[in-house]
């Protein structure tokens, strides 16, 4: 599909967009925290992707490449304008894995809380957690996108994870004490 899109096949390009735009939009939303900004950044990212597609060689690494473009667009935009802090619509996050009703109820609370905790991190910490922990970029790649050294990525990551831990411990004391495991 990527190869066909590279050769200018419009149907392949539409398929490529259809198969990836939700993930791209979700990443933008997690970084920017605002649905309108995220939609705008996603469009801009696809325009840049189209311009660079001919020169793109590692076809298998398309999602990683797209995520990097989205992250770069978002970070550039966020540096340009002061961030409008509209909370992310957590309840619109969907889990593709079907669960039974009880698991779904527990999962909904957990994922909702986790998403809220990530969103409530200061931007310097949130961006590192989103890129490194959620989207699996390396320390070098994360540093490149954010314009900081891998060492600084490490420091921010440490602080961000500890903040998340503290948030989750407050909301799920049984998780903190490990009681849920003992009784399981």
């Amino acid at each position: 599909m990527v190869r066909a899109a590279q050769q200018g096949d419009p149907a392949a390009m539409e398929d490529l967009i259809a198969g990836s735009y939700r993930a791209a939009y979700t990443l933008a939303l997690r970084l920017m925290g605002n649905p309108d900004d995220a939609a705008e950044a996603t469009q801009e990212a696809y325009i840049r992707m189209t311009r660079g597609l001919k020169k793109f060689r590692e076809v298998g690494a398309f999602p990683t490449w797209l995520f990097k473009i989205v992250s770069n667009v978002c970070m550039t935009e966020m540096r340009k304008r002061s961030r409008r802090d509209v909370p992310t619509e957590i309840e619109t996050m969907e889990d593709p894995t079907p669960l039974d009703a009880e698991d779904e109820a527990i999962g909904h609370v957990f994922w909702g809380e986790l998403e809220r905790s990530v969103q409530s991190l200061p931007e310097v910490y949130r961006s590192v957690v989103v890129l490194r922990d959620i989207y699996g970029m390396s320390g070098e790649e994360t540093g490149e996108v954010l314009g900081i050294s891998p060492g600084a990525v490490k420091v921010r990551l440490h602080r961000a994870r500890k903040r998340l831990r503290d948030e989750l411990v407050d909301h799920f004391p049984e998780w903190a004490s490990g009681d849920d495991r003992e009784s399981a």
């Binding site: 390009m13 967009i17 735009y21 939009y25 996603t42 469009q43 619109t92 593709p96 440490h158």
Partner: protein, 116 residues
């Protein structure tokens, strides 16, 4: 290794970066390691959870991308380099055609039987 150092490593490089012997003897660090591993797994799982995008986003992206491709093609065609290249190409093609014509004509002349 001290617990404070172990805790720093757990939250920076992950629980796997700590020598497992420490966890055998220290319950506190073992628990902290479990929490770090849980959190790491949950964060990784977030990658597969998608937000609902605006209804018209896909269409807007497709339109924007199509416009970009058209603009790109127009930019190429309207750039002086393109026409310079086209002119050079046409001239080269003309020269090549003429050369082939000359060669073919010479061969034809050479192949013609001499008239006494």
């Amino acid at each position: 290794m001290e617990c404070r150092e172990v805790e720093r490593i757990i939250w920076t490089d992950g629980p796997d970066a700590v020598a497992p012997e420490h966890f055998v003897e220290c319950r506190t660090c073992r628990e902290e390691s479990r929490r770090a591993a849980d959190l790491q797994a949950a964060l990784t799982g977030m990658r597969n959870r998608f937000a609902l995008p605006p209804d018209d986003l896909e269409r807007m992206i497709v339109d924007a991308v199509s416009r970009t491709r058209l603009d790109w093609a127009r930019d190429i065609v309207s750039h002086p380099k393109f026409w310079r290249g086209a002119a050079v190409g046409a001239a080269a093609a003309g020269v090549a055609t003429a050369a082939i014509g000359v060669i073919a004509a010479r061969r034809r002349v050479a192949a013609r039987p001499e008239v006494a």
